[in-house]
């Protein structure tokens, strides 16, 4: 491995970690606050990707401009899902939320499959594939933008949780649900808000992914898995941890992938197992 290759691979890993952090951000928030392993997370990502695709195809809206639209739509959907469905089983054993979100995932994926067909889609813009070359290293604009947007959203979420009243209510509920209720926090509303934010972030991740990778309705499952691994690697304590988890995941995935691509997934999961054991 020479310097040119090594530096390009390191940059690839860095760029990949941005989008992975965003992919895992909403998942980690929902898990950390509500103790729900949201298996429908990948389906929300898929919805975000399709929304972006149709906004681009039908209305000519640039995929980056459709991120806020996706976030609003997905927030509303997530909020409604939590209010109407998940709040009903929130006090039930963890298996109930597992089954519910798993069922939701299957439902959403098949609805997308039905309405949007199983075709492989991809958002291709005028600037797709364009980038700058710095010495040995080539940086595609889209991936760079994705990294910056991901970091901005992580920072925004961290600020929201720390500095706003609603954010503090979310954290308080995550720490001790009964104490939060006693101090006047409206727990169902806070849960709906949290889940809505999780879905909105998934929508943003879907928007960005739609310009980076070809996708179909089944894209989501793989991203739910990645979100899980990244959340565990980073730890659920603080929201910024997903960035660390994503960095670790991306570097392992990319460096192993450069030489032993068949093993890249196996090795990332070995790292997960090690992280769980130690």
């Amino acid at each position: 491995m020479n310097v040119a290759e090594l530096s390009q691979i390191a940059v690839n890993a860095l760029l990949l970690s941005g989008i992975l952090a965003l992919v895992a951000l909403g998942f980690s928030l929902v898990w950390g606050i509500m103790n729900i392993v949201n298996l429908a997370h990948g389906a929300f990502i898929v919805l975000g990707a399709y929304l972006t695709f149709y906004l681009h195809e039908a209305a000519g809206i640039d995929p980056f401009l459709s991120i806020p639209i996706c976030m609003v739509v997905m927030f509303a959907l997530g909020f409604a899902v939590q209010r109407a469905l998940i709040n009903q089983v929130i006090r039930a054993p963890i298996l109930a939320t597992f089954l519910l979100t798993f069922g939701l995932e299957i439902l959403l994926v098949n609805l997308v499959n039905y309405f949007c067909k199983g075709d492989t889609r991809s958002v291709t813009t005028a600037y797709t594939g364009a980038g700058i070359t710095l010495g040995y290293v080539r940086i595609p604009y889209i991936r760079l933008a994705a990294l910056l947007i991901a970091l901005a959203l992580v920072a925004a979420l961290a600020w929201f949780l720390r500095s706003t009243r609603a954010g503090r209510a979310i954290r308080a509920t995550g720490m001790d649900i009964d104490a939060a209720r006693l101090t006047g926090v409206n727990v169902p509303a806070v849960y709906a808000l949290t889940y809505g934010i999780g879905a909105a972030l998934a929508g943003a991740a879907g928007s960005l992914l739609s310009v980076m990778v070809p996708f179909d309705p089944n894209l989501g499952g793989a991203y739910t898995e990645r979100s899980f691994v990244i959340s565990v690697l980073g730890g659920l304590g603080a929201i910024g941890n997903v960035v660390l988890g994503a960095l670790l995941y991306a570097f392992v995935d990319v460096f192993v992938g450069a030489r032993l691509p068949q093993l890249s997934e196996a090795v990332t999961f070995v790292v997960l197992v090690l992280a769980l054991v130690y």
Partner: protein, 414 residues
């Protein structure tokens, strides 16, 4: 009644009737219309949903056409054909279950293959166990045929030959081409495609500078492509499926990897390849089992590839062009039709023997199986997506619609 008359009656009516009863194609309610039902597990959802649709539409189109022409004649009686299929969700273990269900519960007469090598390899042992012949059109891995199965046949060209045409295409344009990089998806079919391509490239004097497999669920191949780029290969070959081919073209552009030629086993022949990549699809080469430009003169309802394509598009206006999966799937029906008529019975074992001894020319190309059940007589063609937005057959040169463009010009400045 003379002995000959009795025999004719026996072979003409009674035996087929008994055979039909035995495999349960006779609907208890009405014996008025006799049917031969083909069963198939096809992926209409999941990873290969699109290809599964092509497969289904190819089967259905050929069945409808044969029915229009009066059906299949077995010992003097005309049988209509029907297709019964289930969605295997692109999961091979479902394929096996559904194939068993089709044979056991739905009592279909014969089995048509699913889409893809992995599901085909799970359906094959089921057909073997129940001694029901399967003609498959979408499983090209030769590993399916290395297990000594007697009831599975493939009309398509086997995996190892998929990328040969592209290697030949490059050498026909450029005797100076020296290096090849090969990326393959880690699953049975693509592994064979990659291995076959590497073998053939070496045989032709090229040096394979990079050969790696990536996992089936890969969403990022930038690491591999970065390494590939450092070798500066003349040719990059991809052995995967549509999604992988799209990803490789996209990320190669991201990383500024621009070889003299880039070719894929699966992907470029689908309309979505152009739809997804727009101008980035230009100059990409695709191996294909079949194109409407080929010049075969077949013994089937359409006779020529062009006539097949025209008829299919007229019936299926949602298609902008005819994917080869449609043609190969229709060819499986044609092969069954010839074999059943030749056997003169619906007895599965006799039909199996008739399939094994087929030697026919079709709109899809020659069909003749070797001892394993593989159609080794049909060559692969190469298509290229060109900057005018069209897709043209550029190899073999004898049937090329246009000259191929080689090498790829440098990428336009962003």
């Amino acid at each position: 009644m003379s002995i000959a008359g009795t025999l004719r009656l026996l072979f003409g009516c009674v035996l087929p009737l008994l055979a039909a009863l035995a495999v349960g194609v006779l609907d208890g309610r009405a014996a008025a219309e006799e049917r031969i039902t083909f069963g198939a597990a096809i992926s209409t959802t999941g990873k290969t949903a699109k290809e599964g649709e092509y497969t289904r539409d190819g089967y259905q189109f050929a069945i409808d056409k044969l029915n229009e022409m009066g059906g299949v004649r077995v010992g003097g009686r005309a049988y209509k054909l029907a297709l019964k299929y289930y969605d295997d969700e692109s999961r091979s273990e479902r394929t096996a279950q559904l194939t068993e269900k089709l044979i056991n519960e739905d009592k279909v007469a014969f089995i048509l293959g699913p889409y893809g090598s992995a599901p085909t390899s799970t359906a094959a042992p089921i057909c073997e166990r129940y001694r029901v012949p399967m003609i498959e059109a979408n499983g090209a891995a030769e590993s399916i045929f290395s297990k000594g199965y007697k009831f599975t046949f493939a009309v398509l060209t086997p995996a190892k030959q998929y990328l040969r045409g592209i290697v030949d295409f490059v050498l026909a344009h450029d005797r100076g081409a020296k290096t090849v990089a090969i990326l393959g998806e880690n699953e049975p079919f693509s592994k064979e495609v990659a291995a076959g391509a590497a073998e053939y490239a070496k045989e032709k004097g090229l040096s394979v500078v990079y050969q790696q497999l990536y996992p089936s669920s890969a969403q990022d191949v930038s690491a591999l492509l970065t390494t590939v780029k450092s070798f500066r290969p003349d040719v990059v070959l991809g052995a995967g499926h549509l999604q992988d081919s799209l990803l490789i073209v996209k990320q190669a552009k991201d990383l500024g990897l621009r070889p003299k030629a880039m070719g894929f086993s699966v992907g470029p022949s689908s309309p979505e390849f152009r739809e997804s990549l727009k101008r980035d699809a230009d100059y990409v080469l695709g191996a294909t089992q079949w194109t409407p430009a080929l010049r075969y003169q077949g013994d089937d309802p359409w006779r020529t590839p062009k006539a097949f394509a025209d008829a299919f598009l007229a019936k299926n206006p949602s298609y902008s062009s005819v994917p080869y999966q449609v043609a190969e799937s229709a060819a499986a029906i044609v092969a069954f039709q010839h074999a059943i008529e030749k056997a003169g019975t619906l007895d599965p074992v006799k039909v199996r023997d008739a399939i094994a001894s087929l030697d026919i020319m079709t709109f899809f190309g020659p069909i003749k199986f070797d001892g394993r059940g593989v159609n080794v007589t049909k060559p692969m063609a190469v298509e290229q997506l060109q900057p005018d937005g069209g897709k043209y057959t550029v190899f073999p040169q004898a049937v090329a619609e246009r000259d191929g463009i080689y090498p790829m010009p440098p990428a336009p400045a962003p």
